[in-house]
């Protein structure tokens, strides 16, 4: 399901949106605001697609010990801020990653906000990087499928997590 609503300018980014998102809500939620500038559509998403198979995703949590709202990412993510693509020839679709489902932190941006992670993958290891573009120091969250082993980000990575690599 996809809700497309808002067209807005880049100048008016809401820092938080969707705090009332319910568990099981749509994977893609668009900003419900209308602005004069019509060249960008913003979508708030809490995964990077292809996560129907939950046994192959890194799950990030807003709180420590896998608590609070969550977001899921498969494969490589070069920036937890989000990504842009084109809706059509004249419109840029800006996707912003936020924590969703229920719990504390729902609607907050993912980048630099995750406190813990769980490797849902039964076969892939993940490394989370301090900075975007796989730069800075990092923390590897090993697979395969460390059942019962939630992993808090180390204290410095807790508020500095910006990209991920699966291998």
């Amino acid at each position: 399901m996809m809700l497309r609503a808002g067209r807005r300018s880049r100048a008016a980014k809401p820092a938080v949106w969707g705090t009332a998102l319910a568990a099981g809500a749509a994977l893609v939620i668009s900003a419900p605001q209308a602005f004069a500038n019509t060249d960008t559509v913003t979508r708030y998403v809490y995964d990077n697609g292809n996560t129907n198979n939950y046994i192959d995703a890194l799950q990030l949590f807003y709180n420590s010990d896998t608590g609070g709202a969550t977001a899921m990412f498969t494969g490589d993510v070069n920036d937890y801020a989000g990504y842009d693509d084109h809706c059509d020839d004249n419109t840029v679709c800006e996707h912003i990653y936020v924590f969703s489902s229920s719990g504390s932190g729902a609607g907050q941006r993912v980048k630099n906000n995750a406190a813990s992670a769980y490797n849902n993958s039964i076969y892939h290891d993940f490394t989370v990087y301090y900075y975007s573009g796989w730069t800075g120091p990092s923390q590897t969250i090993p697979g395969p499928y460390h059942v019962g082993n939630p992993l808090n980000f180390n204290s410095t990575l807790k508020n500095e997590n910006a990209s991920q690599k699966a291998f």
């Binding site: 494969g75 842009d84 840029v92 573009g133 923390q139 395969p144 939630p150 410095t156």
Partner: protein, 323 residues
């Protein structure tokens, strides 16, 4: 001794030799080969990923981080060790699944990460290789998505993992499959326990990377690194880019969240690395960090030793499984 050999020896001989070798590490500038000697490697730590699996260089071979190894890296699980452990666990999982009549096999690994371990030397201070910057910008050479799993039946998933949905808090107890008991957590948990015996993770395996991240922050605050960062920033300004640190450089690309290796991305990346070379930022930063990490090792010696010993035990078990 060449740095690569030094690293292998460090990994191979565990924490014991590290005590001996700390003084040798203490005076390195990051690019000078250490003269320390190490016992011949004879135990865990030398197991590597399959030769057919390409991986990151243990020590960067090119660019501005060439030859640089941080002291804490000796205590971190590295790419070769992780792959050896994963491969061994995969092998056990295949055998376990076969007991239940499933011809399941894990997909092959995805493209390797840029760094050999959590220190991520190749991109620790942002981009560091002028040739890579000119070719790929801020992107990785290989961004092919990792291979995905072939579709699995529910029964297959339950036998492999113990449940249809993994839980971070409990090891699920699956029902018998065709009258045959399935181990708690399924074949995956059984296999992991053989390589990384319970109580798994009794040592704080995140300690080396935690200290390593702290050292980046602490070193960044030192006057010498601050001065180097200012020089780098001024160099970037002279090329038309307003940016405070290398970690912000990729945000100079055209959109706030879209990344592209084309056009300006390449230009920024080339300027970024060129200014690092001109100002000596990486060498300055690395030297400051090396000193801080030696202090951290002295202050956390026993805990770090415990981590390395646990990793060595896992790698040794993985090697035994492979043979």
């Amino acid at each position: 001794m060449h740095k690569i050999a030094l690293r292998q020896a460090l990994a191979a001989t565990g924490a014991g030799c590290l005590l001996v070798m700390l003084s040798a590490c203490a005076d390195h500038s990051g690019v000078q080969p250490s003269t320390a000697s190490a016992p011949p490697s004879s135990s865990a730590g030398t197991t590597t990923a399959s030769p057919s699996e390409p991986g990151p260089d243990p020590v960067p071979k090119t660019g501005l981080t060439k030859g640089m190894v941080l002291p804490l890296e000796a205590y971190m699980e590295n790419y070769s060790e992780r792959r050896a452990i994963s491969n061994a666990e995969g092998k056990l999982e295949i055998a376990c699944m076969a007991r239940y009549g499933f011809s399941w096999a894990p997909p092959s690994a995805g493209s390797p990460p840029p760094g050999y371990d959590d220190a991520n030397m190749a991109r620790r201070y942002g981009l560091s290789d002028p040739d890579m910057a000119a070719k790929y910008g801020y992107k990785l050479p290989d961004e092919t998505p990792p291979p995905s799993q072939q579709p699995m039946s529910d029964a297959e998933i339950i036998v492999l993992t113990g449940s249809l949905r993994p839980s971070p808090h409990t090891v699920p107890t699956p029902p018998p499959y065709h009258g045959k008991a399935v181990p708690p957590g399924g074949c995956a948990e059984e296999s992991i326990r053989k390589i990384e015996p319970a109580p798994r993770r009794s040592a704080d395996l995140t300690l080396p990377s935690r200290l390593d991240a702290e050292s980046l922050d602490r070193s960044k605050a030192t006057p010498v690194v601050q001065a180097a960062l200012k020089a780098w920033s001024a160099c970037m300004a002279s090329k038309g880019y307003t940016v405070a640190t290398p970690f912000d450089a990729m945000d100079l690309q055209s959109s706030p969240s879209g990344r592209s290796a084309g056009g300006q991305g390449i230009s920024v990346a080339v300027a970024d690395v060129s200014c690092k070379e001109k100002t000596g930022l990486i060498k300055t930063w690395f030297t400051a960090e090396s000193s801080i990490q030696q202090q951290q090792i002295e202050q956390n010696q026993l805990a770090l030793q415990a981590v390395r010993e646990q990793l060595d035990a896992s790698v040794k078990a993985a090697a035994a499984t492979a043979n």
